[in-house]
């Protein structure tokens, strides 16, 4: 088990919270809550050790296109592939922006 923290620039706080994914091997659980304006804080608890660089690259690629909303994100990872992580994060971001 390893806990990783990341911070990225962000826009205005998201309007609502969201929870997607589930606890189980090959998947992850993602909790999103509106955070302080301008900041996206991500905490990852993962069962895979030594994966900090992989997570950083994945987040950088995801947030490269458009500025994400300000959020506190909690991720519990159970060995999900990068493809699954991306799907779940996109699903979660969609949910916080749907009002």
């Amino acid at each position: 088990m390893e806990t990783l923290s990341f911070e990225f620039p962000a826009g205005q706080p998201a309007r609502q919270r969201a929870q997607v994914g589930c606890v189980g091997s090959g998947d992850l659980e993602v909790l999103l809550e509106p955070g302080p304006a301008g900041r996206l804080n991500i905490q990852v608890v993962t069962s895979v050790n030594g994966s900090a660089e992989r997570w950083r690259h994945l987040f950088e690629r995801m947030f490269a296109g458009a500025e994400p909303p300000a959020l506190n994100v909690d991720i519990h990872d159970f060995g999900a592939t990068p493809g699954v992580v991306r799907l779940r994060l996109e699903q979660a971001l969609e949910e916080v922006s749907n009002v």
């Binding site: 997607v20 189980g24 998947d27």
Partner: protein
């Protein structure tokens, strides 16, 4: 008709893979596992004709290695359905105690609805090989083969039963298009994660998806 039942399915355990089928970058523990005569686990991934995507399992979560095995090399195959009787009511290991408690319930459910269930993951591997990989805090991984739609409220009722057991149970619903976690399908989420041979995707209803 193609005999799909004879084709190895994800989670099947296969014996007969030789160490020379490992790629040059394979870790030494993977070669040791094969040399000891242990099986590989069929993965859900594309493979060329005549080949099967498999995984070699070592100690702990970090020791997993992806490989491909020629179908012709299969000497023995054990399916998750063959391992359901391996529970230990008085066992020291929580996943095997949970299995003993669940077996009559899942057998009854499967008889009523014409389904099949099986044991996968560490518990399946341990029951099939005798190699101890489970600990007191391990999960119990199961699959339920569900060719026809399972209503979400029925999924929730089943999940609630699983949550009363001595360890965490991770049950995958095997649909014709791929696998979905029971926990996901039992949730109110509009879309769920379908793990298919061609990769994972989010879908509204796994039973309306076409197998890829």
């Amino acid at each position: 008709m193609h005999e799909t039942r004879l084709l190895p399915q994800p989670h099947d355990l296969l014996w007969g893979m030789s160490t020379d089928r490992l790629d040059a970058a394979a870790p030494t523990w993977a070669a040791e596992v094969l040399a000891a005569g242990r099986p590989v686990v069929v993965r859900r991934a594309p493979a060329r004709d005549g080949w099967i995507a498999v995984g070699v399992r070592g100690h702990g979560r970090e020791q997993r290695h992806a490989a491909w095995m020629p179908r012709a090399a299969i000497r023995r195959r054990v399916q998750p359905e063959q391992l359901t009787g391996g529970g230990e009511r008085e066992g020291v290991c929580a996943p095997l105690r949970a299995l003993a408690l669940l077996q009559p319930q899942l057998d009854a459910l499967c008889r009523q609805r014409g389904l099949a269930w099986g044991v996968t993951g560490g518990a399946g591997y341990q029951l099939a090989t005798g190699v101890t990989v489970l600990g007191e805090h391990s999960d119990l991984d199961l699959l339920l083969r569900v060719p026809r739609p399972l209503e979400r409220r029925q999924a929730l009722a089943l999940l609630e039963r699983l949550e009363q057991l001595p360890c965490r149970v991770d049950l995958q619903l095997e649909t014709p298009a791929g696998a979905v976690a029971l926990r996901d399908w039992a949730s109110p989420a509009a879309r769920v994660l379908l793990k298919a041979g061609s990769g994972a995707r989010l879908v509204g209803d796994p039973w309306r998806e076409v197998a890829a």
